[in-house]
């Protein structure tokens, strides 16, 4: 449905998007994840024909954004970061205006405005001035505006930014309910949002795509490599942190042991496994057999958060994700 190849966008001094390529299939919800200023909005603006690309191509629903912008615009619904609302208009009036602008046949407009008002839960404020609406309602009117012409592709730029927790949940479930009918790209810098809403994730940083995969796979890559927090205590204060570390490193399947800290005679470590190995039973046995007390053995949950941080922090690429590629 969306195909981006070698897309770059350069401004006078900076490169906002650098040679980005990705593909989105019909009906998918794709999360566009990256820190602020990573080039998410710029990429979305190219897809919506707001900005022309400096080089490369973008294809939406079979039409090129440079060659046939009118065809692309007809098939795309766009919610910018700040919803494009006219404060002096009433909600219903505004949606009717957008429906006309998007080229809906006059006969369908009234019905369609009613439908999207219901769907986005703004029907109860349809006669209110937009300037009087709360932020949550404005965001929903913005969403209603984006889906009014039933577009194939929906592009949502930070749809939950600035909302309160309840509104965020509502907006997320609304977006989820829109999947299926529409192919959705949404940008965000909030990780749990991607985990909850999206099937696929494109991580972008400094204008470059650093990872593209399903959310499931990305988290699995990490779960495959297990990390365990271990606390070991000597029975008669006769314990040396180096010996413990050496002992644990000998356990089959362990890739790395990191010493964390000591409290009295207790030592804390973080142990990482090799890909796809479960090390906890072996680890426990070897510690107990060596005559130490095993106070704690806890699997450290690795979330998308870690992948994200490791991918977007500027230094090295983490070995785990690299090896999975």
């Amino acid at each position: 449905m969306i195909k981006v190849e070698g897309l770059s966008k350069r401004y006078a001094r900076t490169t906002a998007v650098d040679n980005v390529s990705f593909e989105v299939k019909k009906g998918q919800i794709v999360g566009f994840l990256g820190p602020n200023g990573a080039g998410k909005t710029t990429t979305m603006r190219v897809l919506t024909c707001f900005l022309p690309p400096s080089s490369g191509s973008a294809n939406v629903a079979g039409f090129d954004v440079v060659e046939q912008p009118m065809e692309v615009k007809k098939r795309i619904g766009y919610l910018p970061e700040t919803p494009p609302l006219y404060p002096e208009m009433e909600v219903e009036e505004y949606l009717t205006f957008v429906a006309k602008l998007k080229g809906l046949p006059s006969g369908d407009i009234k019905r369609r405005v009613g439908e999207v008002s219901e769907r986005c839960a703004v029907a109860d404020v349809s006669q209110k001035l937009i300037s009087k609406l709360s932020k949550g309602y404005r965001q929903r009117v913005g969403l209603a505006q984006a889906i009014i012409h039933n577009p194939d592709v929906l592009i949502l730029d930070e749809p939950t930014s600035g909302l309160d927790p309840k509104q965020i949940l509502d907006t997320r479930s609304l977006i989820k309910s829109l999947a299926g009918d529409h192919t959705i790209i949404l940008s965000t810098h909030i990780l749990p949002e991607v985990e909850q809403v999206c099937e696929h994730v494109i991580i972008i940083n400094k204008g470059k795509v650093v990872a593209t995969d399903t959310v499931h796979n990305l988290t699995n890559r990490l779960r495959g490599a297990e990390a365990v927090a271990v606390e070991v205590e000597g029975r008669n204060d006769q314990i040396d942190k180096g010996t413990v570390q050496q002992r644990m490193e000998q356990v089959p399947g362990v890739s790395r042991v990191v010493y964390k800290e000591s409290r009295d005679s207790r030592h804390l470590y973080e142990v990482e496994s090799l890909q796809g190995r479960s090390i906890r039973p072996e680890l426990a046995r070897s510690i107990v057999e060596s005559g130490w007390n095993l106070n704690e053995l806890r699997s450290v949950s690795l979330s998308l958060e870690e992948v994200f941080l490791s991918l977007t922090s500027s230094d090295e690429q983490p070995a785990m994700v690299g090896s999975a590629n």
């Binding site: 919506t48 707001f50 009118m70 910018p80 700040t82 494009p84 602008l101 998007k102």
Partner: protein, 255 residues
């Protein structure tokens, strides 16, 4: 055509839901009413004087009342035009609604024409207010209606031309005030060029004089439709709209 109409209607509604239209119309009614009073007063006084002197001088309402009023309306228009155009694009850029327009299946030129037509339509409404005064004259005298019509045609053409320039300036800023000040400066320059040209007879003075809006309007006020002046105003409309289109295109490359 449908898209132009959609934009046009929204703009008109926006003019009349904000105080802009009412403020501008009220301000204009006040000024044009005052000038009407002054010119009619002078006319009546002169009539009485010539009667007392016992000399029957020919009194021409068109020449003594209507023409100066039209000239005044033309100048007042220069001050009103920035208020009509300042919002057109600056506000859309500030609030981000320009993204909605540009990402909708609507051509740039349709957006521009819709907005410009709405400004011209509001300007026409304003002119209609001043025509109420002149219509009253028909109750007391026999002014020739043809030069009046030509005068209003000239006012409309002049307004349309300056509104197109104002529309262009509105695309260059996010700030309505800056857009208004810029437009006002250009209107003012186009007005005073007329005086500047009168200080010299060289070639430059002729060129400068030709650019003066007021000089071109003067022939209309006299009741003459000169194709030279019509072409001047129409080409100015075209220039303004052309620059607007270029400027809108450049928004995308720079935004």
């Amino acid at each position: 055509m449908r898209n132009i109409n959609t934009i046009f209607q929204r703009e008109m509604k926006s003019y009349f839901t904000s105080p802009v239209a009412y403020g501008v119309m009220g301000f204009f009614a006040l000024l044009s009413g005052y000038f009407f009073y002054v010119y009619v007063y002078i006319f009546v006084q002169r009539g009485m004087e010539s009667q007392m002197m016992g000399r029957a001088t020919p009194m021409d309402v068109n020449e003594w009342v209507i023409r100066p009023i039209l000239m005044n309306v033309s100048v007042i228009g220069l001050f009103l035009i920035p208020m009509l155009t300042m919002r057109l694009f600056a506000e859309e850029k500030r609030s981000g609604t320009i993204e909605l327009l540009i990402t909708s299946p609507v051509r740039d030129i349709e957006i521009i024409l819709g907005k410009w037509f709405s400004a011209v339509a509001l300007y026409a409404c304003i002119l209609a207010i001043s025509s109420l005064n002149i219509i009253m004259l028909f109750g007391y005298g026999k002014p020739d209606w043809r030069p009046i019509l030509v005068g209003y045609l000239g006012l409309l053409l002049q307004g349309a031309a300056l509104l197109s320039i104002g529309t262009f300036i509105s695309t260059t800023s996010k700030n309505q005030i800056i857009a208004a000040v810029g437009t006002f400066a250009i209107c003012l320059i186009l007005w005073i060029l007329d005086w500047m040209s009168s200080y010299g007879t060289e070639a430059w003075a002729k060129v400068v004089g030709y650019l003066s809006v007021v000089a071109h309007f003067e022939t209309f006020a006299k009741g003459v439709v000169d194709s030279k002046d019509v072409i001047f105003f129409l080409s100015m409309c075209f220039l303004g709209l052309f620059l607007t289109a270029r400027s809108m295109e450049s928004l995308r490359w720079r935004a």
